[in-house]
Each structure stands twice: as structure tokens, then as C-alpha cells.
Amino acid sequence: MRLINRHPDRSSRLLLVLLPFALLLFAYFVGSAERLADNPNDKLLPSAGQMFEAVKRLAFSADSRTGDYVLWQDSASSLRRLALGLGISALAGLCLGIAAGTLPLFGAPLSPLLTVLSMVPPLAILPILFIVFGLGELSKVMLIVIGVTPCLARDLEQRAREIPVELLVKAQTLGASTWTLMLRVVLPQLLPRLLISLRLMLGSAWLFLIAAEAIASTDGLGYRIFLVRRYLAMDVILPYVVWITLLAWLMDWGLKALTRRAFPWYEGARA
């Protein structure tokens, strides 16, 4: 049978899903054990026990200086920035995308502008953000907003244009004004697409967040990683990276579940 026609059954699918993760972990811990056997003070590939100790210190015991539980404090700060940045981006992207994609008079000036703006590398203007908005929360949130909004807006504009013109004509024959047409026909059809776009932009949003936190911050997951880098503290960095990955994956999964639940009519929701 050709390879293209062979499908894994349920149990072997689970096995295939877990296999690469198991292999990765196995390779790491073999390497770690070997290095630690050569040199017990090696910091590059810490053992599970060392990482467990580090997590216990950061997550489950109060910091002796500030009294905070560092991991949770970092997570809360980072997630707040991320949520704020993504929330503002979603709202702005939706408004811009609908305006540019539905109203030709708005699309003419907006569409080329969004294309150009989405090409600006956000990290290149990070210094400008720090100069303009200071080193506080605002500049970090703004980096996410500036990085994510143009891409969201462009995607939603494209989706708005893909709504068949027949539907727009039909809505007008049902007595819709421009405003009610956008509100009741275009907006609800774009909402599931917005959630999908957000899922695709999650990776970039985390990138911008970590970058901003690494450069100027006093807490946050990115800040912590770049802080302990000075001490070659891989036993902290690796659990932090795993934790960030887990958070990002959970957000992706949550958005997917929300799309499926809130928009049962949407075909793409199953993807």
C-alpha cells in the first residue's frame, strides 16, 4: 500500500503523538546524565532533580527579599501585558479590517497603509517605543499592539472581501443600512476568523513580549530568563521555557475551543 494511503489507527496515533516528545526528553536526560557524571558542577544540562529544586524555590517558596512567589508574580505580569496587548490589537484589527474590507472609500487609503505598516519590523522600533512611551508597562503593551494589529487587520480585511457580494446585496434588499449591514452580517462572520488569526499571531505576541521584558522590565517571564542568564542558571531557564510553551499552548487550545463552541456554524472551526 502506498504511504499516502496509510493512516494510523487510534492507539497508534496516540503513540505517534507521544513518540517525538519522549525521544526529545530521552535525548536530553541521557546527555544531562553523561555531562553530570563527568562534572557534577556542570550547569549546561541540569538534571530533573536540579530543575525541580529550582521550580520549588521559585514557585512554592516566598522570595526572601520581597516575599513574592517569583514564578507566579512573573506569570501574572507577563499574562497581563499579553492579554492587554492582544485585546487592544483584536479590537483595533477588527475595526480596521472591517472598515477596509467592506467600505471601498475606507479601503482605498487604509489597505496600502496597512500593508506597509505590517512590513515594519516591530523590534526595530522598540527603541522608539521606549523613548516615546518610557520604560513602563505602556511601551511593552504597545510593542505587542504595533506588532500584531496590522497583520490582524490585513487578514480580516481579506476575509471581509471574501464575503460573497450576493450576501451584501441580499442584506440591502432586507433593509440594511451600511452600519447595520456591518453589524449584523460582516462582523459576526468575521468573529470566528478573528479568533483563528489571534491563534496564529500568539507566537509573535509572545516574541514581542519576551523581547520587551528582556530589555527593560523588573518582572515578567522574559525578564527572569534574561536575568538568570548571567548566572548560566539553566535549571531556571529551562522550566521557564517549558512553562511559557505550556501557557501559549493552553491559550491556543482555549481559543480553538472557544471558536468551536461560540460559532457552531463556522466550517473552519473544526480545523
Binding site: E166, T173, G175, L183, R184, W265
Partner: protein, 254 residues
Amino acid sequence: MSFISVNNVWQRYGDQVVLEGLNLHVAEGEFCTLVGTSGCGKSTFLRLLLGQETASKGQILLDGQPLAGEPDASRGVVFQRYSVFPHLSVLDNVALGLELPRSPLLGRLFGKAKKAAREQAAALLHKVGLGHALDKYPAQLSGGMQQRLAIAQALIMKPRVLLLDEPFGALDPGIRKDMHQLLLELWRETRLTVFMVTHDLSEGFSLGTRLLVFDKVRVDPHAPGAYGARITYDIPLNSARRKALAAELGATSQ
């Protein structure tokens, strides 16, 4: 005076002439079927009647008034595809037509008004045979049911003109027959003026009270776009139905 008058209407896109010198007078309540080869301008003519496009020359009068240059509630439409809103349930697809004109700010009704609109929509849906599917989404309906929904959606607005662009083109023959029955029934009841584009000649002959054939009279082989289509045949059909219509209209006008 005729209900719809088309006076010397031309439509051209760039150098391409699609319709030339169209003249037509249609009485209220007529059921016109439009036939002709592909690309001969039937659908263009329908879009002109709908207001989706404006004629390059000439004018179309509806009840003596020039036609509004954009689609509005006076003319209902059913397309071959994409006629219903995928994000609304069957019931809301029809109720939408009651909600939009009455709520200019939010486009939706609440409380009692919403309930009344939904009841009215449900009654119409029962009539077109969708009473069992009120809560389904269009994607869960068969092609024929989707077109029933699209027709109900158009009729809830009580338009004076109903425009149908190959509405049954994608349906299989059995379903198509049912749809013909439904359409004729609704037409008799509402006394709408109907324009229906079709590729199916027998459908055109059996449904209409008037058959309009679109064709190019002049063809220049060196410049295929130089001349447009006209109405080459205008055939009165189904005289019994026509008489019934005339009698009914006469009765109401007295």
C-alpha cells in the same frame, strides 16, 4: 401605465457592449422568465433591475419613478448561491428582514418586538415547508431547502418585485419540480411581479406568463464586443394564468 418600463437601456463595460437598446413594458403581477445563451446579458439585466449596477444609457422606471441606484427593500432577490446568511439560524435568517428596517442603530429587536418578528418569520417558514428546521443553520440544509429559505427571506419584506437569478440551477429535477409548485403558489398569493433568469427552457415556458428571449441580433466577427444583446422574442404564455391575473387586477382596481 405599465408597472416597470425599460426605456432604451444600454449597458457597456469599457468597449464591451452587453445590452443594447432594450425596451420593455411589464404590467404589475407578471411572471417574466428570461432565457438566452450564456453571457447574453440576462443576469446583467437582472442586476440593473436590482440596482446592483446602473445602466450606461437609458432608464428604468418602477411605477413611473426612476429606479433607486442601489438595492433596497422594494426588490427582493434570490441568487443561485450565497443567498442566505451562514451565521444565522433558519428562523433568524428570515426574522432579520423584520429586524433591520425597524432598528437602525443595532439592527436587532428585543423582547416583545423580537418575539413578534420571530413568530411572523416562523409562520412564513411553515408555509414554504421549513417549519421543521427553524433552529438549523443553512449549512445543515439541502440545496433545495436553502433556496426555500432564500425565497422566504425575500418574501418577508413584501417586495413589489422579486428577482430570481437561476434560483433552481443547482437543484436536482425532482426537487426543482417541488420548487416550481411552491413558487407558483406564492406568486398567485402575493401577486408579485417576478423576473426569473433560467437556463432551462422548459422551466421558462411552464412557469412564466411571459417569456423574454435575449440574443445578439448583430454580430461582428472581428469585434465580438461591439454589439450587445436585445430582447428578440417576447412571448405571452399560459393564457389561463394571465387571464386570472388580469381579472384579479381588474377586480382590485375597481
